[in-house]
């Protein structure tokens, strides 16, 4: 079955809300939603992935940098398995907190020969 790389993308946003930290009660709610989402799509999840930390670009000496860091574009990743890109999009679409003002998800097929 095709696999898809889902990249969380930070998007420019004009929304001012969401700057507030969630309260413990809201976090509990998010946790429950996340658990339900995980349970619903557990058969399609290949790698839950995670947030991306600091990294280093390794090049041949003298490469003509500087280069854009992936982290500036992408906050985290996961890998899902689905019959089609629509199946993968569904997983991303329903992931709590992923698609919102300021954050989107790029779903990319991982091509296998």
């Amino acid at each position: 079955m095709p696999k898809f790389l889902c990249l969380q993308r930070s998007l420019p946003s004009t929304a001012t809300s969401g700057g507030d930290k969630p309260s413990p009660a809201q976090m509990q709610e998010m946790y429950a939603k996340f658990g339900a989402w995980q349970e619903k799509f557990k058969d399609r999840m290949v790698d839950m992935g995670g947030k991306l930390g600091g990294g280093q670009l390794v090049t041949v000496p003298g490469a003509d940098g500087p280069f854009t860091e992936v982290k500036e574009l992408c906050g985290g990743y996961m890998i899902v398995e689905a019959d089609s890109i629509e199946g993968a999009i569904e997983v991303a679409q329903e992931c709590p907190g992923l698609i919102r003002p300021g954050s989107g998800c790029e779903v990319i097929e991982i091509e296998t020969p």
């Binding site: 507030d20 930290k21 969630p22 309260s23 413990p24 009660a25 809201q26 976090m27 509990q28 998010m30 946790y31 429950a32 996340f34 658990g35 995980q38 839950m48 995670g50 947030k51």
Partner: protein, 415 residues
């Protein structure tokens, strides 16, 4: 995935535990930093646990994360202080062996200690409540504002006042030994009572939200009663009254969330377990010869709980208890309660006579409660013109649609 964190209110209550324990470890001076660290630890759990599964001991995991974060922050501040040639007071060894051995160790004790800290006399009462809701119950500023029917700015101001008072206190903290705790117990009971009545009497449409506040008060009340400092008649009576009210909370509204009159309530929906619990605490509170305002209110609640029907209620006993309540805690509200009971026991004229000479203060005279009782008593006494006047005043003063609907039903049922 394991499910410890699915336990109701887990995140809120862990927040309270973390802040309380860290405040014992690091003192009150870095309180805001501690709160941020507790928040961050919950956030870390939210991002890690779904991937890694819940740790075997979620509470310990959270505490470790929050603790390390506080330490890091304090070290950074200390470095900053050194750069500026100042010494770093925050890194003095924290009070590791507290002067109050009776309160040492246990998490429950940390929470209780924090409750007593919130009720420090240097903190204004309105701020004590806000602080307890924030620190011990884990509510955010908007959530507190929503529950107390005040603006967020108001809550924020109350919290700031509390924190600056406590910060000043922290520098000259003599520690909370048993006598100091005992002296502060009435304030603690007062805050728990306030917390409970915010839930019980609120005209908040969300029953769940109101029940939640009542349950928080009960949770902290049990904590108090489990400690030597809380083992006394007034704390027991407070628990009794909270349980006896809690038993009837969900029966006070119908499915549509509308308030119900006592005569409309389905008595079989009252919780027998909660009533039993309340009566047990009431029995315990009867030791000794002290009679507090909590005893009076609990005894009145018990009368209602034990009455098989509205008609079979011992109104004479209730009238007596209101008089006792008024004696230990004088208030025209208690005289009003007594008048209602007297009217039930002896007729509306006797009820009106009981109000003779009660000069209600302006806030009460302008309240729907006062006006509605007068409307009811005058109508039953056949003084229809006066009744109509009070009825109109009651409807004007109703604080919410729920109360207005309640009044309309009461008056129309009366014809």
């Amino acid at each position: 995935m394991s499910t410890a964190a699915r336990v109701e209110h887990f995140f809120r209550h862990e927040y309270g535990r973390m802040v309380s324990t860290l405040a014992r470890r690091f003192g009150l001076a870095p309180l805001e930093l501690i709160e941020d660290a507790a928040q961050a630890a919950l956030m870390a759990a939210l991002t890690h646990w779904p991937r890694t599964g819940e740790p075997d001991n979620p509470a310990a995991w959270l505490y470790r994360v929050a603790h390390n974060r506080v330490l890091d922050q304090l070290r950074q501040q200390a470095g900053h202080h050194r750069l500026h040639g100042a010494h770093a007071p925050e890194l003095r060894p924290a009070r590791q062996d507290p002067t109050d051995p009776a309160l040492a160790g246990d998490v429950a004790d940390d929470l209780l200690r924090m409750l007593f800290v919130c009720c420090d006399p240097v903190v204004p009462p309105a701020s004590q409540l806000a602080l307890a809701l924030k620190i011990l119950c884990g509510f955010s500023v908007p959530e507190i504002a929503h529950r107390l029917f005040v603006s967020e700015a108001n809550v924020y101001k109350r919290l700031q006042r509390a924190k600056s008072a406590l910060r000043e206190r922290a520098t000259l903290d003599g520690g909370l030994d048993l006598p100091a705790l005992a002296a502060r117990r009435p304030a603690v009971e007062g805050v728990l009572y306030q917390l409970f009545t915010e839930g019980y009497l609120s005209s908040h449409p969300g029953l769940a939200i109101r029940a939640e506040l009542c349950d928080e008060a009960l949770r902290l009340g049990h904590l108090l009663a489990a400690h030597p400092v809380g083992q006394g008649p007034s704390t027991y009576a407070l628990l009794a009254l909270m349980w006896l009210h809690r038993a009837r909370l969900s029966a006070r509204v119908n499915d549509a969330g509308e308030l119900l009159l006592l005569e409309e309530q389905d008595r079989s929906a009252w919780s027998a377990d909660a009533i039993a619990e309340g009566l047990a605490w009431l029995a315990r509170s009867a030791a000794g010869d002290s009679f507090s305002r909590f005893h009076a209110e609990a005894a009145i609640a018990a009368e209602h709980c034990l009455a098989p029907s509205l008609a079979a209620t011992r109104w004479d006993k209730i009238a007596e208890l209101y008089a006792l309540w008024d004696a230990v805690e004088p208030s025209p509200l208690h005289q009003l309660g007594r008048a209602v009971a007297v009217a039930e026991a002896e007729g509306p004229e006797a009820g009106l006579a009981a109000l003779d000479g009660v000069g209600p203060p302006t806030w009460l005279e302008g309240s729907y409660l006062w006006q509605a009782v007068l409307a009811d008593l005058h109508r039953r006494a056949g003084q229809l013109e006066t009744a109509r006047r009070h009825r109109a005043a009651a409807e004007r003063a109703a604080p919410s649609d729920a109360v207005r609907a309640l009044l309309a039903r009461r008056f129309s049922a009366a014809g």
